[in-house]
């Protein structure tokens, strides 16, 4: 994949601002912004000044997943006059996500494969999906992504152990990395290159010194990770082979508060419920809403029986789904991108790193 050197460009901060102002006029631009009390959330920006330019923050609690699979989305609307008429709802907002991090890009590629059959940032998908999810695919097609390499990973990050960062190597359009006062731009796709050529006056080619400097930055970033998750593959093997003793899950189950947060904040979790809402006798909507395998009701069948009623089985399920080789085979990677969000959001301090560590110790 090394079209690397000829695809390296430089854009100055001022030019980047100018370029972004162009985009802001033509589409909804989402970027990490500082909300109340300085916390970071992904939010539509009005001017480029809104972006959290220092890039120094723990990942926003919610990943950009919500722009592709919102917590609630209307799938269709129905009306009954003499007969049922069904009108599907699709989100056709043109968007750009600016400043998305490599872990989240990798998570999107994971979702692309799951909902659409292959990576949707490529021009053609790898394979025909069995049941393509048109709601997801439409949103994804309408969204252009500019990623930001992480020269300074956050304190909860462990993407490096999950083959998901701190820099993207493939499957992206444009990746920016700050270098001194400017940004290095890596081009990962023809779509990305089109942007450069369409706005060539903003960019210049990187010099060979700058190429070297970028490598140094990348090396430097690698050294900032704590070695929390050096045992991912061990966890994968033991979980796949069923060699993790139930006592671990039992122990965690004692503390889990069934909040569902772990699924909701995880950028690769995508289970959903389907709920009809009657708005009148004759009309209504069908919605889908985020759901979580943490809930007992997730497997409730008529008559009241809950198939996965034991909390320990639900936790086991989560980590089996994330890490088991059976799923890696299906999804072409394991289901954790090392974003660290579950560390933030779990009431019980059950997170991917803590479980991997516990599996190792067991």
């Amino acid at each position: 994949m090394s079209r690397y050197e000829e695809n390296l460009w430089i854009i100055t901060r001022d030019n980047l601002f100018a370029l972004m102002e162009v985009f802001i006029k033509t589409r909804e631009v989402i970027a990490p912004v500082r909300g109340h009390g300085g916390e970071v959330i992904f939010y539509p920006i009005e001017t480029i000044e809104d972006v959290a330019w220092d890039w120094q923050y723990v990942n926003a609690v919610l990943p950009p997943k919500r722009f592709f699979l919102p917590q609630t989305e209307v799938m269709f609307e129905y009306r009954h006059d003499n007969s049922y008429k069904i009108t599907p709802h699709y989100d056709d907002q043109v968007r750009m996500i600016f400043g998305i991090r490599p872990c989240d890009v990798n998570a999107l590629i994971f979702l692309d494969r799951f909902f659409g059959g292959g990576s949707l940032s490529k021009e053609s998908t790898d394979e025909e999906p069995l049941f393509p999810d048109s709601h997801y695919i439409k949103r994804r097609a309408n969204t252009f992504i500019i990623a930001f390499g992480c020269h300074q990973p956050g304190e909860n990050c462990f993407c490096v152990c999950c083959d998901a960062g701190p820099f993207l190597e493939e499957d992206y359009d444009l990746q920016l990395t700050s270098m001194n006062a400017d940004y290095v731009v890596e081009v990962g796709s023809a779509r990305g290159l089109k942007i450069i050529y369409g706005n060539e006056h903003f960019f210049r080619k990187a010099s060979s010194d700058e190429v070297k400097e970028l490598e140094r930055i990348k090396e430097g970033a690698l050294n900032t990770f704590a070695d929390t998750c050096a045992y991912v593959s061990k966890a994968i093997r033991r979980i796949t082979e069923g060699k993790v003793d139930d006592s671990l899950w039992e122990e965690l189950a004692e503390r889990c508060l069934d909040c569902g947060g772990c699924s909701y904040v995880c950028p690769t979790c995508c289970c959903y419920n389907i709920v009809d809402i009657a708005l009148s006798d004759k009309s209504g909507i069908r919605t889908r809403t985020w759901d979580s395998c943490a809930f007992a009701g997730f497997t409730r069948i008529a008559g009241g029986e809950i198939l996965r009623s034991d909390k320990k089985d639900r936790l086991k399920r989560r980590f089996f789904h994330k890490l088991s080789y059976r799923y890696i085979e299906k999804n072409k990677r394991h289901g954790c991108v090392g974003c660290g969000r579950c560390i933030t959001t779990c009431f019980a301090d059950i997170s991917m790193p803590s479980v991997i560590e516990a599996v190792r110790r067991q």
Binding site: G35, V61, C259, W290, F295, G297
Partner: protein, 688 residues
């Protein structure tokens, strides 16, 4: 797309969350990462709080009763009709024939305006709020003992304390944020003592779980105090410096010897001693308690006993040492702060004090009644009132006796209910006024750690629904008294002007921070995390009560145990208790309309111990009948050792409020506290 930062309305923790708005609809939530309570976490209720907001059942137009049915009318007609009737009743029977029930779910601003309306316009002190049904104990109990009827410390302090004493609280179900702080504390080495008849999720972490007989809390705590005194474990310095009345406490607990207490409570004497020593010897210890302790006739005594214990050991009034009272409703404390109480103006300024009354009379430019009003239980007793104005409360489900409550509501000449859904109570109303939900209005809630925080309008209300404060000001105008507020921020200005503990609070300041913890006596004051001793000795004006009964000192309030109102007997050998489930909240009006939350427990059930189940031949999910002296209900059995032997637990959130049919009406005659226990018999329903 828009995200609006606001405060969760599903429990007293008061998490910060963003509502996600898409095309005028709330479509999801994002937890606030830096908010001191949520810290990036929400419980299942918080994550799904948006699901009820746009529910098709939301009230959209005012309704007035005509014959047997409701008719939709416009606001003008509805308000004219309500004003006319209230004026008529006031003229005919006098002000004190009208009562007002305020809401621990509504904002401070809503409650303040309603309180003002009640006192200044209706001319009565008959006002109380729904939280008093569960916890009429903390306020007088803590007030008597430590000056304020509120938690003394902040939630985050729990993580760094050494010993946590958790009393009558199924914390994971009701206050997940508190529970997670408790488990975190345990992970970093803290000790947990649980006093609770039930097994709960947190009790599994307890170093000592005192599984006492229902109704013997006071005896048990006195027993602990007895041991502490006997073994000389009291914190001499604190006790002599800052407290009064130790001698009478000593005398009171004399009879609570370990033998006596272990017999009374059904626990082991060594566990009791272990708990006493752990608590007393700790350098830092905090007490948390909840409705399991307060929703009974002895509630206030239990609170006093806990305060005695904490004072005695010096576990009060210092960082990581204090009492946290876990009110379930999101704004239970705020509603009380706003003076929706029969005997207090905002900020706990007594109505029977000349000076306070004079202050409010001159500010409000009207005469105010001096006599304290009726409590909520008194108001809900048949025959006490002619008219009732209920804002955001559903007493038919939440009050302990559905029979008596419906008799009362039936007997009223005029009933107004202001709510977001057509509740069971609203079915009795003469006028139903559609109100805005928390997602549709501006204002403030005050959480269990006294943190006053912003609630922000994120979407417009369905149909013609209006914020509660707005409805009341419109009504007030029609009754000849103008309240001219342009916005809730202006209401807050009046609140802070009249309420010493809120003096420094304004919406502007709250917008800049993560809320402010009262007492906040001036515009620069950063708020008060710990109600400290030195603070008590500070500006006296803020603490009229301390002044009154403690001479600036905290006070021991000796109490003794009283039996349950209706102890089990041979014919009714089980004790029925009721309480909350994690998945539902309060009367369930909102959570039962959330697809995700209601999926967990779609129907009511009765939980019994496996031992009893076996004895009675009851299988999982089998239909059983629960029978009390007053009524019976049929429901499905859940079998779990979380409930004690000879105990039945029925959650409170469901429409067939059958558990209420069974509860004890004597709590109404006693009338100051409701008791959520009674004696019942359990039998399987024969299969036909």
């Amino acid at each position: 797309m828009k995200d609006v930062l606001t405060t969760c309305a599903f429990c007293g923790c008061g998490c910060g969350l963003y509502l996600q708005i898409e095309k005028g609809y709330v479509t999801g939530v994002t937890p606030s990462q830096r908010h001191p309570v949520s810290r990036g976490r929400l419980c299942a209720r918080g994550w799904h709080i948006y699901e009820f907001v746009h529910h098709p059942d939301r009230l959209k137009k005012p309704l007035v009763r005509e014959g047997g049915a409701f008719r939709e009318v416009d606001w003008r007609e509805a308000l004219d009709m309500v004003a006319k009737n209230l004026i008529g009743i006031k003229d005919k029977y006098g002000s004190d024939s009208i009562g007002v029930i305020a809401s621990p779910k509504c904002t401070n601003e809503d409650n303040f305006v309603l309180m003002k309306f009640c006192r200044a316009v209706l001319g009565t002190n008959n006002i109380d709020n729904g939280a008093s049904l569960y916890d009429s104990a903390s306020l007088p109990g803590l007030m008597q003992s430590c000056g304020f009827g509120a938690s003394t410390n902040s939630l985050n302090e729990l993580e760094d304390t050494e010993v946590i004493l958790a009393v009558g609280t199924d914390t994971t179900q009701t206050h997940p944020q508190v529970a997670s702080r408790i488990t975190r504390a345990i992970s970093s080495g803290a000790t947990l003592i649980v006093i609770d008849p039930q097994k709960t999720k947190i009790s599994s972490f307890a170093n000592v779980h005192l599984r006492l007989k229902q109704g013997t809390y006071v005896g048990l705590i006195n027993g602990i105090i007895h041991i502490i005194l006997k073994e000389g474990l009291i914190n001499e310095k604190d006790v002599s410096r800052a407290t009064s009345n130790l001698d009478s406490l000593k005398k009171m607990v004399e009879k609570y010897t370990p033998d006596y207490v272990s017999e009374l409570c059904g626990i082991s004497g060594s566990d009791l001693a272990k708990a006493a020593r752990l608590f007393a010897k700790a350098d830092k210890a905090m007490t948390v308690y909840s409705t399991g302790a307060t929703a009974q006739a002895a509630g206030k005594d239990i609170v006093c006993a806990l305060a005695n214990l904490a004072l005695l050991c010096g576990h009060l009034g210092r960082p990581h040492n204090g009492i946290i009272t876990l009110q379930e409703q999101n704004n239970a404390l705020g509603a009380a702060d706003m003076g929706t109480l029969p005997d207090f103006y905002p900020g706990y300024q007594p109505v029977n004090s000349e000076t306070e009354r004079a202050k409010f009379e001159s500010e409000w430019n009207t005469k105010l009644p001096a006599k304290p009003g009726l409590s909520i239980l008194e108001m809900l007793s048949p025959g006490r009132l002619k008219a009732l104005y209920i804002m955001g409360e559903n007493p038919l489900i939440t009050a302990p006796d559905v029979g008596l409550t419906s008799e009362t509501l039936d007997g009223l000449e005029f009933l107004v209910v202001q709510d977001i859904f057509q509740t069971e109570t609203a079915e009795f109303a003469d006028a139903v006024l559609p109100a805005a939900s928390f997602a549709e209005k501006d204002g403030t809630f005050t959480n269990i750690e006294r943190r006053v925080q912003r609630v922000r309008a994120a979407v417009s209300s369905p149909g013609e629904a209006l914020p509660d404060w707005k409805i009341i000001t419109e009504l007030s105008k029609r009754m000849g008294y103008t309240m001219d507020y342009g916005s809730p921020a202006q209401i807050m200005e009046e609140i802070s002007h009249l309420t010493p503990i809120y003096t420094g609070i304004s919406h502007k300041r709250l917008d800049e921070e993560w809320g402010l913890q009262w007492p906040c006596p001036d515009k620069e004051h950063p708020g008060t995390g710990v109600l400290r001793r030195d603070f008590y000795e500070g500006p006296k004006a803020i603490f009229p009560l301390i002044e009154q009964n403690g001479k600036g000192k905290e006070h021991f309030t000796p109490v003794q145990d009283i039996p349950l109102m209706e102890p089990p007997d041979a014919q009714y050998p089980f004790t029925l208790t009721t309480g909350s489930l994690y998945w539902h909240w309060h009367s369930g009006t909102m959570t039962r309309r959330s697809a995700t939350l209601s999926r967990e427990y779609p129907d009511v059930f009765a939980a019994i111990n496996p031992q009893d189940a076996e004895q009675l031949g009851i299988r999982k999910n089998q239909r059983i009948r629960v029978i009390s002296k007053r009524g019976e209900m049929e429901t499905a059995a859940m079998i779990t050792d979380r409930v004690q032997v000879k105990t039945v637990f029925i959650p409170q959130h469901y429409k067939n409020t059958a558990s209420k049919v069974l509860l004890n009406p004597s709590s109404f005659t006693n009338a100051k506290a409701s008791e959520m226990f009674c004696a019942v018999r359990v039998e399987p329903v024969m299969k036909i």
